[in-house]
């Protein structure tokens, strides 16, 4: 536990500071999201070593959640998906002249939720990790499969499309050396493909290059930003009092949603808004500029970011693109997350958790006085910003293996990702299929070998059977419900 203070060494504090500032900027800018930004700075963080590198990546992850709300409130443009709901009441509050109060409440809600969820993470992650020590290949297979099915269900839009993207990701994950026997597959004799498709290259392509291409097809957003003076930043007593219950509800809810695979932060913010509309004492005002509509969702999306760290740190299974980038960063630094992380690299484990505390304080101190500066970042025209993003993408992809093949992968992934967006396919399930593919394949083959070819070996143990059953239910249920609904409407 004393390793928590690892986060307080000057080098790690600096890494945390740089990460949170970068994250806030990324959160403020529409377009580039946290996963893309984290992939972009991966080459830089590897040079910093595991603890400082991961602290910086985690800072971006958290910072983006903070920054996203700033432009939602001031410009009515969400910096990232998890802040879409905040525009509803946040922007109306700004129009009423309460922009400062809304920003302050958003920052405070993010701080409270972030800190509470780190405490929960600190308590829960070692417990889950200890339980996971008993997990064999069959349990891992069940868990990864359940995760991917839930992910396809929750990504939004068409479920079949999300499923197709998960499978495409799995397919791409089979390129290169197979995880057990060492057979080289699907490389078409390209030397660069032997080690598999670079995750960094695919991610920077899908979330960086594709975003740049997509932004070109859109008209430039207007850039009128309300000016906020420092002394306007104080919410009045009434606003503070009204924010407390939604903040607490959002925190608990967000953390729980964060444990579930899928775009947890976005879902958590929508669910929190929905709950406030049902239970809040001021529910009638929601939609017209109520502070509850800022406090609840902003707490929820930050708490979800904390909850999402539990499967990553204690099981080694990421279920969001951002945590997937964190995983690949860890692997590049030869740190394997999962049940053994706490035992083998305690300073990394506690250092990262400690940095969440520090990062939350830093973000609060940074966001309150500098909110005007960050809001102005959002007004930098894309024609000056996006070309730089392209160059950064190329650097990140190349430096992963010092290989021009990876730059090709990035460019092709970028063009494919642009087409996917145009056809309403989400890139997130693909990335997770790519990351979880090797886990799924290795655990399936190992489980079969252990069971001497008996397929029943996959569900022989209690936890494995529960997870596989849940995966089947999650796979079948939405289809069945649609059938039931259809026949119900036909009979009425």
């Amino acid at each position: 536990m004393s390793e928590l203070f690892v986060a307080l060494t000057p080098a790690n504090l600096l890494a945390c500071f740089v990460g949170t500032v970068l994250g806030t900027i990324v959160g403020v800018l529409p377009g580039l999201g946290p996963a893309g930004a984290m992939a972009l700075v991966l080459p830089l963080t590897i040079k910093l070593g595991p603890t400082a590198g991961l602290i910086m990546l985690a800072g971006i992850y958290y910072g983006a959640m903070y920054g996203g709300s700033t432009t939602s409130i001031l410009v009515n443009v969400p910096g990232e998906a998890a802040s879409v709901v905040t525009t509803i009441d946040g922007y109306r509050l700004a129009r009423k002249g309460r922009a400062g109060a809304a920003l302050a409440i958003a920052a405070i809600a993010s701080f409270v939720a972030g800190t509470v969820s780190v405490v929960a993470l600190q308590v829960a992650a070692p417990l889950v990790a200890r339980a996971a020590l008993a997990f064999g290949p069959a349990e891992y297979f069940g868990f990864a499969l359940l995760g991917l099915v839930l992910l396809a269900n929750l990504t939004g839009g068409s479920r079949a499309k999300s499923l197709a993207m998960v499978l495409t990701g799995l397919m791409l994950s089979t390129v290169g050396m197979d995880p057990l026997g060492g057979t080289v597959r699907f490389t078409f004799d390209l030397a660069g493909a032997q080690a598999g498709l670079s995750f960094v290259a695919v991610t920077t392509g899908l979330f960086g290059v594709a975003e740049v291409l997509a932004s070109m097809a859109e008209p430039a957003a207007s850039s009128a930003v309300a000016r906020v003076r420092f002394r306007d930043l104080y919410p009045n007593r009434e606003e503070l009092r009204r924010s407390v219950p939604p903040m607490l509800r959002g925190t608990v809810l967000g953390f729980l949603v964060g444990l579930v695979p899928g775009p947890a932060a976005t879902i958590a913010s929508f669910v929190s808004y929905g709950i406030e509309k049902k239970v809040s004492r001021h529910r009638r005002e929601l939609g017209t500029g109520a502070i509850e509509g800022v406090a609840g969702p902003e707490a929820a999306n930050n708490a979800a970011a904390g909850g999402g760290m539990i499967p990553l740190l204690s099981l080694g299974l990421p279920f969001t693109p951002s945590t997937a980038v964190l995983l690949s960063g860890m692997l590049l630094m030869s740190v394997t997350p999962g049940p053994f992380l706490l035992r083998d690299h305690p300073s990394v484990f506690w250092g990262v958790i400690g940095s969440f505390y520090v990062g939350n304080v830093m973000l609060l101190l940074l966001n309150l006085p500098l909110v005007g500066v960050f809001a102005r970042v959002a007004t930098i025209p894309p024609k000056y910003l996006m070309p730089g993003v392209l160059v950064l993408c190329a650097v990140a992809a190349y430096s992963d293996n010092n290989n021009i093949f990876d730059v090709w992968v990035m460019v092709v992934a970028g063009i494919a990702g642009w087409a996917m967006r145009a056809l309403d396919f989400s890139p997130a399930p693909l990335v997770l299929g790519l990351v979880l593919g090797p886990v799924l394949e290795r655990s399936l083959l190992q489980a079969l070998t252990i069971a001497r070819g008996e397929i029943g070996g996959l569900w022989a143990s209690g936890p494995a059977s529960v997870m596989l059953a849940a995966a089947v239910v999650a796979f079948v249920a939405p289809g069945l419900m649609a059938l039931v609904r259809r026949s119900a409407t036909r009979t009425t």
Binding site: L32, V77, A82, A160, V209, A217, G388, D424
Partner: protein
């Protein structure tokens, strides 16, 4: 045939090609599964999903957009399909392919400079001196930051 049907057909084609290549890898037995097992399962399931997408595409209403946002923060984008709107991203896509092809020959600084100037012009920057200054700045900063200071090798 609508957009969704075309994309479903494309996915089905991808699955079939993948399965054809996957035939090269042995399945072996269930007790000692070979490297062909997971590709076979993946390819077959993708084919099934693609076929169901193709069938459903004709009957379904358009997907909801609010729920379609990704956690990654991608802002919702809905490019209109007029040729004028598509032209500049297509030119940039071609430029990116050319960039990658020329990187090993011309080096990072020269290629990145040209890419930035071109991209910034395509995105609506007027005149030449601003894009050129931007290109020089970005290429030089990236070189100094990554190659010199952090020791990241660049092509």
């Amino acid at each position: 045939m609508g957009r969704d049907r075309w994309s479903a057909a494309g996915l089905a084609l991808l699955a079939v090609m993948y399965l054809l290549v996957a035939r090269r890898y042995p399945l072996d037995t269930l007790a000692t599964p070979g490297p062909g097992v997971v590709p076979l399962i993946t390819g077959v399931v993708l084919l099934a999903v693609a076929i169901s997408l193709f069938i459903v595409a004709g009957t379904e209403r358009p997907a909801r957009h609010v729920g379609g946002l990704s956690e990654t923060g991608a802002a919702p984008t809905r490019p209109t399909e007029s040729a004028r709107v598509l032209r500049s991203p297509l030119v940039l896509a071609a430029a990116l392919l050319l960039y990658t092809a020329l990187l090993p020959r011309l080096g990072f600084i020269a290629c990145s400079f040209v890419l930035v100037v071109l991209a910034s012009r395509l995105m609506g920057a007027r005149g030449w001196w601003r894009p050129v200054v931007l290109g020089l700045g970005i290429a030089a900063t990236a070189h100094l930051l990554f190659a010199r200071w952090l020791g990241v090798p660049l092509p």
